[in-house]
């Protein structure tokens, strides 16, 4: 990883955490104001945009990408990358469907299987990166193909439907607040926010979070201070896998089926959300709040452009411009 050499070896992990806070707070403010600006612009341009129905549609379309982005934020902060989050999500969804719809086990078992399978896949990537010293880009690219292939094999290249378990779709599509008449927030959105709060707590207030930042800022210094960095790195990839399991449950529940061919390309959306939110690809900095804002910027932009009937080709161009713009702002901030 590039970040190892150019930072002072004596810098202590704790100092690194507090040192980045001011800078990423600025990026967060910038990202948040961009989101607000987008919402205002779209609301002015179309009366259909700022409607309860559409706001719920935006939140729902953010849920899966947001959850994946939370997971990948952890990995990116350590200076790594995970290209397998999309297909890992699909694999956990297929395993949940296999458990519930094929083996006829209770929904809760399916949820558990998805989380377990995700954790195991993540841990495997972590071991490849930490112990076998395979670059994260390659290790997780391999894991991406592996999980994609396994999903297709297990599901026999066909979607698996939860026809025998109608309650499964309630996990994401039901609502905990049925009294909110026209604004029934689906559980998928609640799960996203709860997970974000949990992840934020873990990242900022636990040893695990502290080492995640420290490894990303200066892995060598952390190792020299007697900490088993390999173990913590494996743990970070495992947590990412676990979070992919959550995303797998959400997408399977939303589609009421596990779609084995889906997932490729979703990792790039997740990484883009993290980067827009101020997570640095060279490691050592990033926040969960920023990532969530990044995910909302992407889905709000896509939805808004659709509401305005912008041709699809131009939607893609504009999303590209926004990502480049966001990263450019990040660079400007760092140069100061």
């Amino acid at each position: 990883m590039a970040n190892q050499s150019n930072k002072a070896a004596a810098q202590s992990p704790v100092k690194t955490v507090s040192g980045t806070k001011g800078a990423s707070a600025r990026q967060k403010v910038l990202a948040f104001s961009s989101l607000v600006l987008l919402i205002i612009v779209f609301s002015i341009l179309s009366p259909n945009f700022f409607q309860p129905y559409n706001l719920i549609a935006i939140m729902l379309s953010t849920a899966v990408n947001g959850v994946l982005a939370i997971g990948v934020t952890f990995v990116i902060i350590t200076g790594g990358i995970d290209l397998s989050v999309g297909t890992m999500m699909t694999f956990t969804a297929v395993m949940a469907a296999q458990t519930v719809a094929v083996w006829n086990l209770p929904v809760i078992v399916g949820v558990f299987v998805a989380l377990l399978v995700g954790t195991i896949c993540g841990m495997t990537s972590g071991i490849m990166v930490a112990k076998f010293k395979i670059p994260p880009f390659i290790a997780t690219l391999g894991m991406s193909m592996l999980t994609k292939g396994l999903s297709l094999i297990i599901a026999n290249s066909k979607p698996i439907y939860f026809t025998n378990a109608p309650s499964f779709s309630q996990i994401a599509m039901g609502t905990m607040f049925p009294f909110l008449q026209d604004f029934q927030i689906p559980n998928a959105v609640i799960i996203l926010f709860v997970l974000a709060i949990l992840a934020s707590f873990v990242l900022n207030n636990t040893i695990f979070g502290r080492y995640t930042f420290a490894i990303g800022s200066n892995e060598e210094a952390v190792r020299l201070s007697g900490i088993d960095t390999d173990r913590w790195k494996i743990a970070v990839y495992a947590v990412n896998g676990l979070i992919c399991g959550v995303a797998g449950i959400l997408i399977a529940s939303r589609l009421n089926s596990a779609q084995p061919a889906l997932g490729q390309g979703y990792e790039l959306d997740a990484i883009a959300a993290a980067v827009i939110g101020g997570t640095s690809l060279s490691g050592g900095e990033g926040t969960i709040l920023g990532t969530i804002i990044g995910a909302f910027i992407m889905s709000t932009l896509t939805n808004g452009l659709r509401i305005l009937s912008v041709p699809q080709e131009w939607q893609i161009v504009m999303t590209g411009i926004i990502i480049i713009f966001a990263v450019y702002m990040d660079m400007l901030r760092k140069r100061r």
Binding site: N48, A57, S157, P159, S257, R306, P311
Partner: protein, 312 residues
């Protein structure tokens, strides 16, 4: 400030695009894709009908046919725009049912296209009768190989309506009408050129007496053609394709491919918009609108009627 200029330019761009939407019937079409030539031809037909009938349309589809959730997001956004009617080609119709029910609740007529939706919400389905078209390909295959021998089939997938219908249409016609012809295998290549090529080579390797192969969509047909070429079997194995595209048209002109079935994608797009307008005017629609198919080969490829439905 530079930054402010950029933001301002962006807003102006959005205003410009947003103001293009006029105040008339608005009919969004949610397709299965937008990059393939086939979908571009559907879009072209829809735009033609929109122009003639004076309605506004938009045409959108996910980047790959695997992205079921992205298509559903598109459907949700289309419904948020309070459209007059909706055209929809479902990637997975079961996953889309909650949104179709919303459309029904809002009294928005839904017109299905291409592969149909497993639901009674769509007022009609504008599509090719794939079973009949593939059966016709089977008749042509039988004629070209002399009514006897071994043949194989390469299909894009075993889950989509088109994949199932074309496979069954072809296989059942051979089984019922041509007892001397054996179908040695039916393989699935995902409509991917490369995978279908590899499949075809393996089939030819294990069945040296093979007389013909049917490729059930554009990608499969090109794959079959490449496989036959790479194995040096051009002229010895009859290749029949489906749909068009530059490569397939060239292969038919040169005689490497015996011929192909073409759907009428422009007609599909046209019928979706025309049917939606009829529904909005309160006219009754038939449950299924057959948009037709054509057989084309070296002899009729330049016929204006054929040229009109082929796309490069």
């Amino acid at each position: 400030m530079k930054k402010r200029t950029v933001v301002l330019a962006f807003i102006l761009m959005l205003v410009a695009v947003g103001s293009l939407a006029a105040q008339q019937y608005y009919i969004p079409l949610i397709s299965k894709g937008f990059q393939h030539q086939f979908w571009q031809a559907v879009k072209q037909g829809a735009e033609q009908a929109a122009k003639e009938l004076g309605v506004t349309i938009t045409f959108e589809g996910p980047e790959s046919e695997a992205m079921v959730d992205k298509q559903i997001d598109m459907l949700a956004a289309a419904l948020a725009k309070n459209p007059s009617a909706l055209g929809f080609a479902a990637l997975d119709s079961k996953a889309a049912i909650p949104y179709l029910q919303q459309a029904k609740a809002k009294n928005i007529p839904v017109i299905a296209f291409d592969s149909g939706v497993d639901s009674d919400i769509p007022l009609t389905t504008c599509a090719t009768d794939n079973v009949a078209a593939a059966a016709y390909a089977a008749d042509k295959m039988a004629e070209l190989i002399g009514g006897a021998g071994e043949i194989a089939v390469v299909v894009h997938d075993q889950t989509s309506r088109t994949g199932i219908d074309r496979r069954d249409g072809f296989v059942n016609r051979i089984k019922s009408k041509y007892p001397k012809i054996t179908i040695v295998t039916v393989q699935y290549g995902g409509g991917d050129h490369l995978r279908s090529t590899d499949l075809t080579k393996a089939i030819i390797q294990s069945h040296p007496n093979l007389k013909g192969i049917f490729g059930a969509n554009e990608g499969s047909a090109i794959g079959v053609l490449n496989g036959v070429k790479e194995m040096g079997k051009v002229g010895k194995i009859v290749v029949i394709g489906y749909d068009s595209g530059a490569q397939q048209i060239a292969a038919i002109r040169s005689g490497e491919m015996a011929g192909a079935i073409t759907q009428n994608p422009v007609g599909i797009g046209y019928q979706v918009v025309a049917s939606a307008v009829k529904a909005l005017k309160g006219e009754k629609l038939p449950k299924f609108i057959d948009t037709g198919f054509y057989w084309y080969d070296k002899t009729n490829i330049d016929d204006p009627k054929i040229q009109a439905v082929l796309y490069q």
